[in-house]
Amino acid sequence: MADTPLQIAGRDPKVEVPLTVREALSDSAKNIVAGVQSYADLALHSVTNLATGPRYFQDTLAQMDNIGVGSLPIILLSGFFIGAVMVLQTGSQFVRFGQTSLTGDVVSLALVRELGPAITGLLVAGRCASGMASELGSMLVTEQVDAMRAMGTDPSRKLVTPRVLATVLTFPLLVALSDFFGLLGGCLASVFSLRLDAVEFWRRSVDVLEFADLMQGFAKALVFGFILATVGCYKGLTVRGGTQGVGRATTQAVVVASVLIIVADTFLTKLSLYFANKLF
């Protein structure tokens, strides 16, 4: 073979040994366990970092602005129309029994306990978990995360904790505003579609709510906020495969966060109902 500089780049081709089904399943199970462990580690550190310095308040405020204020338009708009469509759907059934006055009760309970946190969770997951994954993923592939470590900064403290804290703090506020705009939309729909009295709708909507209902809604908001921020950060900081990997991580962040939010919702509802019966 000619002794040319081109040979420098040449390497012996690797011989790929095909895996057996058992090996493939075993590898896949190991990867899943390692992934869960690594996610749990990141989530735990995002909280324990708060106990010791350095803390990044400016970064947290910037993230609160991005996550909270930035998400307002989609949250308010979707909350308003979800409230309105709830009234249209439930009202059309109540009309059959002549009980349209119950519409406010149903819409209020559904929004505060369930739809407000869940829909806000899914929308913010779509907007922010994807944003976090793509931003952190891009930083990782362009060695900015390594540069941060090389300059003595812990990426977990600088990048993850401010995002998680900002999301957990702003998410309940977003849910509260979403609930309020949902009731507003429901109120308008009930006035114009069901010919209900606005004051009566509002009074029943507020009266039907108990402390346990508000607790259920806000407990869900805290948990959903934590899930979507940690999943977004985890997917971003575990990107593999360059820019293509960033795209994949972004999609996975939204999918995983959304599924986890729905699964967590089921368990939180059961737990909340249990505590509501025991405590309140």
């Binding site: 002794d3 500089p5 040979q7 420098i8 780049a9 390497r11 350095p54 930083m139 362009t142 060695e143 900015q144 390594d146 540069a147 941060m148 470590r149 090389a150 300059m151 003595g152 900064t153 812990d154």
Partner: protein
Amino acid sequence: MISAAISAGGSAAPITFLDVHVGFDEGEILKGISFQVLSRETLVLLGETGTGKTLALKLAAGLLQPLNGTVNVLGKDVSEMRERELLEFRRQIGFVFQEGALFDSMTVADNVAYRLREERADEQEIEERVREALRFVELEHTLELFPPELSGGMRRRVSIARALINRPPIVLYDSPTAGLDPVTSQTIISLILRLRDVYGVTAMLATHRLQDGFAMANYRFDPQAKRVVRDAAGDAAKAAGTRFLVLRDGGVYFEGTPEEIANSQDTYLRRFLV
């Protein structure tokens, strides 16, 4: 043999690698490399793509942990340190990444000031030192620009300014001239020379361009003339100390002076001289 010599010589050198192994899922990349970088010396790491030059730099900065072996930097066993200790330790090391790795959401000034802000330095002091560092790389006019607005060469120069902001005793350069045109590459090498001759840093320079290493060996920064001048006698290389280390197939293929590599008849080494 090298390992035994290093073991016997102790760890007075700022950087010592002893029988270091590093590997990933696809196998071992470094299979027991040993070398030392002496004080104020520049070690030029040469090798093909994928031979572990960047890995060696990351090991020296404690950004990676070896599978086996010892990495001793500034008298500390980096391979045994916990991440929290390493974060503190890395403040004594400047790292110039291949593509600059500047934070693209921050201005040039904020990028350069990053380390000082982390250390909670006084804002006035930060401004002065940022200007000084950017003046050093002749980019004082880019203070308010963002990295995407800079050319590739300018980004590397900002990265050098960021690395030198707190005057670290060790600077690690990861292919600082890769992908740059010859003129810009020359500018970058001139800056590295200035950093060596003005601040007396100990350095590791990973590159696949032999001419970068020879430039380090044959030129020096003249403080009187304030420019880089050729040193025909090669005294600058001896005074500042430039050595070459060629990595191949996971091991150290060659270690020696600029003269030794230039006069080598080895077929593999001659390829780098083409």
